[in-house]
């Protein structure tokens, strides 16, 4: 939480417009630290959590409820489950399965209960909340593209692209992004997050858009979190 507190206490800087994406490189390193609890999970549990998160990408209503419950748990508040009760049974099952994957059960009397400490870690809660809250700020189309990237298993390639951007905003293109169609999906996803990707043979240039807001940062958080979750040992 050190990074977050630091960001909260100081004036939040604006992401510069039309700048090389390397302006976010330091942040990207910080995100890796935030997502360390994912990397430390046993592979089977991490894979189960990845599947849950991937499922949530397809349903904004579920994502909103998950994020709200996680925010309340992170703040130490008793979660208000009214919104959860309004979901249909399959959506509700999706929320409870995700909570269970990070050590919280909400079966008894519609309350969120902490499972034994072997299954639950506060760092895992923070990391999951960090990821889902970034996803929640994304538009439906952006979430849809991100889900496609997960299905096509190009999240790692996107994460490497973001990590290897030089100070000038250039990066080399690796498989599977060399392929035209796959690159097109990445290009669209980045465009929806106010990042311009320009391909030049085997290299790519990434720059922030005219009014980037926090969207480039949000995409970096989501890609970094999903890449860590989908990593295999």
């Amino acid at each position: 939480g050190g990074w977050i507190q630091r960001k909260r206490s100081e004036d939040v800087r604006n992401i510069p417009s039309e700048a090389p994406l390397s302006v976010l490189k330091q942040d990207l390193e910080e995100f890796k630290t935030q997502f360390k609890p994912f990397a430390e999970m046993p592979e089977d549990k991490r894979s189960a959590l990845f599947k849950m998160v991937n499922k949530v990408l397809y349903d904004k209503a579920v994502l909103i409820v998950v994020e709200n419950v996680l925010e309340q748990l992170s703040s130490g508040d008793k979660p208000d489950l009214t919104e959860l009760e309004e979901l249909n049974p399959s959506q509700k099952a999706c929320v409870t399965a995700l909570l269970q994957a990070i050590g919280y059960s909400c079966e008894k009397e519609s309350k969120v209960m902490e499972m034994d400490s072997l299954h639950r870690s506060p760092c895992l809660l923070t990391a999951t909340h960090f990821l889902t809250s970034a996803m929640q700020e994304m538009s439906n189309s952006c979430l849809s593209e991100l889900a496609s990237c997960c299905d096509l298993q190009i999240i790692h390639a996107l994460c490497s692209l973001l990590s290897s951007i030089t100070a000038e905003g250039n990066s080399s293109l690796e498989t599977p992004l060399i392929e035209e169609k796959t690159f097109h999906i990445a290009e669209h996803l980045f465009a929806l997050s106010n990042i311009n990707l320009q391909k030049d043979q085997s290299a790519v240039r990434a720059t922030t858009g005219k009014q980037p807001g926090f969207l480039p940062l949000i995409l970096c958080i989501a890609v970094s979190g999903l890449a860590t979750l989908s990593e295999s040992h």
Binding site: S133, S148, D151, Q153, F214, L217
Partner: protein, 272 residues
């Protein structure tokens, strides 16, 4: 659907401005001039704040019997017809390890919002400033107490709202079609139903909402900066943030030190 329509409306007319789209049709009645709205700051700095309407007005939480009656200026705003849609078509074929995955998806969605002629109701801030002079918030009011307990919540009063003037329609049509072929159970883009291997799917939906006149589509607030004794200030500049003044607890002073400052004390101070 209503939230999507109001959000698109605000994006079009007041992107990065002060207007807040109304997310729930049910909140419309509560959003009256000078009603209290809670602004909840979120956990991470990049998250947009949440706005929660309340059944209380500023007068309800003030001490004294004299209510503050808002002076409201009513004016024509604009006429709004919006159509948002996208057509997605794609064919992706890729090899992941030994697997060949192919995916073809076609889909279209169309959101049409015909809000018609809109009006704006704006509170006269100068009058509000005058009426607020020497008025104090009742810090014992349960709503004030409960909000104050949460450090991330700030009070705001409704300054302006954009309302419909006639019955209007919001309609959404979604048409989705997809084909999937792979060794994995892949879902095609934008389609929420699960698919069998090498399956086809189609999903259409059409929803129409009729919105009554005087429905609030968007509003803006003035944040309140509230001192511990209940005195409040209207935050009139965009960079001035509201909130509750933190209570400072006086450190207990030893009787010897206190006597040096104030002279001898009548009663010994209770230890904290």
């Amino acid at each position: 659907m209503f939230a999507k329509a109001t959000s698109n409306f605000v994006k079009q007319i007041d992107s990065d401005g002060e207007l807040i789209p109304v997310a729930r049709l049910n909140d419309s009645d509560k959003l009256q001039p000078l009603c209290l709205v809670i602004k909840r700051k979120r956990f991470w700095f990049w998250q947009k704040p949440k706005y929660i309407s309340s059944p209380f007005t500023l007068s309800d939480v003030l001490t004294g019997d004299k209510p503050i009656k808002p002076v409201v200026v009513d004016s024509d705003f604009l006429k709004y017809e919006g159509t948002f849609g996208d057509i997605i078509g794609g064919n992706v074929e890729t090899e992941v390890g030994n697997l060949n995955i192919s995916m073809e998806g076609k889909g279209s969605s169309k959101l049409q919002s015909s809000f018609g002629d809109l009006r704006k109701q704006e509170v006269d801030v100068l009058h509000l400033l005058q009426d607020s002079e020497e008025r104090v918030i009742n810090m014992d009011h349960p709503f004030v107490q409960q909000t104050r307990e949460r450090p991330n919540e700030v009070f705001g009063v409704l300054k302006e709202k954009v309302i419909t003037t006639q019955k209007c329609l919001i309609s959404e049509q979604v048409q989705e079609e997809g084909q999937c072929g792979s060794m994995l159970g892949l879902r095609a883009k934008r389609i929420k139903v699960s698919v069998q291997e090498n399956g086809n799917m189609q999903k259409d939906s059409s929803v129409v909402l009729e919105i009554p006149p005087e429905t609030v589509l968007a509003y803006s607030i003035i944040e309140l900066s509230i001192k511990t004794d209940g005195q409040y200030e209207l935050c009139l500049l965009p960079d001035k943030c509201g909130g509750f003044e933190a209570e400072t607890r006086k450190k207990p002073v030893s009787p010897e030190l206190q006597s040096l400052v104030d002279g001898p004390m009548d009663e010994p101070m209770e230890p904290d």
